[in-house]
Amino acid sequence: MNAIRATCVHLDAFRKSVPVFGPMRPEEKNLAQTSHGVGGLSYDAKKRAWPAEFNVFLALIILVGAFELIGRVFLGDSFLFNTRDNVDAIFNEARLQIIILQVSIVGIIAIGVTQVIITGGIDLSSGSIVGATAMIAMSFAQVATVNGNPNPKAMFLAQGWTDLPVIVPLIVAIGCGLLAGLTNGLLIAYTRIPPFIATLGMMVTARGIAKWWSKGQPISFPTDSFAAIGKGLMPVIIFISLAILFQLILSYTKYGKHCYAIGSNEDAARMSGINVKNHKILVYAIAGILASLAAVVLCSKNLTAQAGMGVMYELDAIAMAVIGGVSLSGGRGSIIGTVIGSLIFGVIISGFTFLRLDAYYQEMVKGVIIVGAVVLDQWRQRQRAIGA
């Protein structure tokens, strides 16, 4: 209320500096300086939109609380807090690290998938892009000799070259992701086939490429510098840095604004002069690159690449986004939400391990949570629409 009042007072000075609007007429001055909001109606601070991420965060806390409670009651152990006397810490840091570490790689994919879904699309190909990119990039990251013998998998080092610098597999990986993403984007923008079909095609094709490249064999023995990318907590650092970067891009740049605009009303975006085709190509290209970065981190962490890597990752990434409040109909959601969604995933996996429950239950519960999140979100949207 006060903020609005203050801006109204400054309005006159502002308008003199903006020639488009011209000087303020006297009756406008009265309008602007009344104790009401813009144009005259009263300004109701309570009507400010409640951030959707807050609800997701609340769900995360409730989930952690539930595991904590069950742990205390049935196991006499704490889920979240440190219970060992010989360790000087408030929280169970190992568990916290595991929670985020095990979702970091799919989380990187989910950052790209979130942007795709916000524009009203879907990307089913990211898991397969991970497989193909991991295979191809790993081939460029091979050590020249293993135990003194030449490494037969180092196909690009057959002439007795030394190890390639880490930048080479990295560039190759990003190139693969970019190529796959661009193909997705071009198909969707120019042939006008639904994103579901275009990325389904890429999903099958990229998996085929991964298998063809692997010739049925995994590739191991990466160089030390390549292995350093996924070592220890590096996946977490990469995940969180990329999440912050893309959240800032979504919030503060033209690209982000246009993502939401295209997702909420594509025709309106087109009529407003936004180049929708180019924007879609860019979004899918970014999603492809993020999937390839996830592949690099994954095969670097596992010190091996297999054609079957990343199976179902695309669906996990979509699920993280959906749990995080990203609307599948487009226009709504954020990276922050997706990150919290990924943490919910991590907490479920760690929690079930902590309770020594079968892994099968995890998937059942995950499924219920995915559907529940969407039902809750839609219900909340309806409530809000009625309230407004």
Binding site: V20, F21, V38, T253, Y255, S264, A269, A385
Partner: protein, 255 residues
């Protein structure tokens, strides 16, 4: 001649064998508000689509602002100074008011191509000024369009049009879906535009509204302009007779 903003000559549009618009001659002067009336399918919207470049005309010429123009698309028309409030609103539901006002023409702080940083403060303040100027009442700028009533949405669409229109505003049935109060608000905005001397083409079915707001009424019937009358020279019955076809001719009235 110099005070003519828009002029069309023999404007014709055929969809295959369907003659949607035939030989439309139309003029609009500076500061003039003109209503286009006619039955459904009479060619009103087709006429507007040819002017704004949404569709490409089959034949005829269009002059805008003293120059002959051939808009390749609505964006070119907008850059030339023609702003249109479309029937389907053209707002992004999940964005707030400033974002919608500046959609596709965002003010940026640093130009980094698609990743240009937005000048949010400027856009917010400019939006406040634009809403005050058009007397549009929106309770909260931070609200997304989804959470607004039909009238508020229409007001945002009109404010957007009026903020950027340098030369001509076209409104395609702006009050078709609105309640009584909301209609009154939109009509007030149109009066504000009139007072500001901004030319306007208003497509409407509402006889009372048309007689309240505009200077001149053009009636379309079966793709042709059948009447072009100053408001004071006609009345509701007369216009209805032209719309239904019980009265014809007199198309070339010196306006």
């Amino acid at each position: 001649m110099s005070d003519i903003v828009l002029k069309t000559e023999n404007l014709t549009k055929r969809y295959g064998g369907v003659h949607a618009l035939e030989g439309a001659d139309f003029e609009l002067r500076k500061g003039e508000h003109v209503a286009i009336m006619g039955d459904n399918g009479a060619g009103k919207s087709t006429f507007v689509r040819q002017i704004t470049g949404v569709e490409q005309r089959t034949d005829g010429k269009v002059w805008f602002d003293g120059k002959e123009v051939n808009f390749a698309g609505p964006i070119e028309a907008r850059e030339a100074g023609i702003e249109t409030v479309f029937q389907n609103l053209a707002l992004a539901d999940d964005l707030d008011v400033p974002s919608n006002l500046f959609l596709g023409r965002e003010k940026v702080l640093f130009n980094l191509g698609p990743f240009s940083i937005l000048d949010r403060k400027y856009m917010r303040k400019a939006t406040e000024a634009a809403l005050v100027r058009t007397a549009v009442k929106i309770p909260n700028l931070n609200n997304t369009i989804r959470h607004m009533s039909g009238g508020q949405r229409q007001c945002v669409a009109i404010a957007r049009t009026a903020t950027f229109a340098s030369k001509l505003i076209i409104m395609d049935e702006p009050t078709a879906a609105l309640g009584v109060q909301e209609t009154a608000q939109v009509e007030n905005i149109i009066r504000t535009l009139k007072a500001n001397g901004e030319p306007l083409i208003l497509i409407s079915h509402n006889m009372r509204q048309v007689f309240d707001l505009v200077d001149r009424i053009v009636v379309f019937r079966r793709g042709k302009i059948v009447a072009n009358l100053r408001k004071q020279d006609t009345d509701g019955n007369d216009i209805v007779a032209y719309i239904t076809g019980s009265k014809t001719g007199e198309a070339a009235l010196a306006a």
